[in-house]
Subunit: 347 residues, 2 copies
Amino acid sequence: MGAKIGIKEVAAAAGVSITTVSHALNDKGRLPDGTRDRVREVAERLGYRPNVNARNLAGGRSGLLALAVSQVEDLAFQLGDFDYFASLIRYATTAALDRGYALAIAPAAEAEGTLHKISPDGAIVVDPVPGDSSLAYLRQRGIPIVTTGRVLDGSDEDYWVDNDHVAGVRGVLDHLAAVGAKRIALVAPRSFASYVVDVRAGYSGWCAEHGIEERVATAPTVTEDGGFEAAISLLDGPDPPDAIYAALDRLAIGVLLAANARNVDVPGRLRVAACTDSVAAQAARPPLTTLGLNPERIGREAIGMLIDIVEGVEVEPRHRIVPTRVIERESTLGGAAQERARLDSNR
Amino acid sequence: MGAKIGIKEVAAAAGVSITTVSHALNDKGRLPDGTRDRVREVAERLGYRPNVNARNLAGGRSGLLALAVSQVEDLAFQLGDFDYFASLIRYATTAALDRGYALAIAPAAEAEGTLHKISPDGAIVVDPVPGDSSLAYLRQRGIPIVTTGRVLDGSDEDYWVDNDHVAGVRGVLDHLAAVGAKRIALVAPRSFASYVVDVRAGYSGWCAEHGIEERVATAPTVTEDGGFEAAISLLDGPDPPDAIYAALDRLAIGVLLAANARNVDVPGRLRVAACTDSVAAQAARPPLTTLGLNPERIGREAIGMLIDIVEGVEVEPRHRIVPTRVIERESTLGGAAQERARLDSNR
DNA sequence: TTGACATGCAAAAGCGTTTCTGCATAAGCT
DNA sequence: AGCTTATGCAGAAACGCTTTTGCATGTCAA
């Protein structure tokens, strides 16, 4: 009973040839539905799992997918620095493995080299920036691409999945307005990743609609210090804001530090919200209200699409938008809630 | 020039058979060093990369390695919750890929199921606990195992790599003593993972040597709330400590919150240090002094050993200990350093 | 009836490695 | 000199699957 069961065993059990089994399982060849179903049932019953290596070898694929993060010169950061990416990677890895592919993470610094070395069957590019070199490389080699976040100068032919940042910003701004904020500022990095553009555009649109003056501070980096600097410039300026929305969780933590440095009470005198939930955002003092993204689903969908493309399956639609949700915490909520309460509810 | 070059091409270029190429490249068979070197050189020149799938297929392996985190019933947590694990996973993945293996992360909740499903060639078990079920499963199936952290009831035959916690605790305690702490407490989780045992033992030993009374608080969970509770019990007790060493970064953040809740100045009245450096520890207020581990090296070494075992290479020694280092930050250092200074040096 | 064509399936040829077996030739012994 | 053993290498099978090709049938129109 413990014997390895391969396609041969399934064929024998179903009383057909291995060709037929392969065809039945992969929706190829000419087979009546009866045979197809019967074979599938037998395979299922026997717990047949195709050998991934044999499959890839015969199929002429490498069985490798790559994940690269798009990079602008000076905005360098480590992939794992952000919970969002860590999560995305984790789920993408699992999703790929489930379908018999391995996911290789291309270190940002040497993305192209890695891509060349492993020659993947397909690639995910995270937060692509127009003119990104890995993107160019992949296109030139004809390697299928799915991006998470759109390529701004891309075409309708592109495959991508994206967070619904447009709706997300509005959700956060509405929340801030609802808790009484009147002078809401935005802290965002430079960069032409689509999410930054979306956030900036969403903010501008919302301000225009609500007749609120725009206050935008550009963060010089994407980590805490960048948020700190941007926030200081806002707080020290004339007519400082009573709320700040930071486009990244770590920027928001920097904002919190800046508020502390200037003795500005949060949320009393300044409300702070961030895009992307994370452990750090939850653990911050006070805990940060965030726009919760869904890296798990982004990762899964991107991998799903990519593998379909690699295997020649029709992919429709080519674009997927994943909803977000506002997670309200103390940094924007009225009274200074009790630390204990938060901790208790955390159990 | 662009043609795919396989073992056949190398054989042709070197004027030998493919058998010889395979033998030369894998240190098998009977070949004079001359031939071996010549073949290798040709392979190198041609940029030959063996096809991973063909290799695994022929070798009868799956090409998959699994990574599971050992788990005690109630100490459940998400893998990615800790920077240490995230880092470990990242580097392990890369190291595996470099040698033609894919690393599957087994979700803690369903580790056994995953292991069964993918039937890996070998497995890494992180922080094994005596009696862990994945461990039992792997042993019973005869799947090679390398653990990061030792199995307490294990044997000398076990393969493991571990952080040098014994030296690490001493380093931190020495540091705390050096900055003036007299009543140093330990906050550690329950659990029989070797690092917890090491930390507790190291602490006891150090206290005995220095004639300091032991103050140990056991954290009910491994996250912030656990640290909070443990710290509160210490701070509210008779003769509260003037320094706390927390065995995990997130526990330490809980300790910080507790100090804040009790209006105890850090580092003025209480010095706080943690094991494991992380982004959260750096971003904490005040930034935490930590014992920096080396997940990158742990991951690499573990994978290296594991693949050697899988491929039948002699592995010596079976145990590897990776050094740690104390990273001094404000939470234990004298004057309240300037936030600005920290941020500036962060650039 | 008889060819033309569709249908249902099997045989067999790969895919790129590893490894077992075997055959020369060279070297060492009596 | 003749026999055994060691050495250097090549041929070919095997790994488990996909896919191309081809062979029987059965169906339909002429």
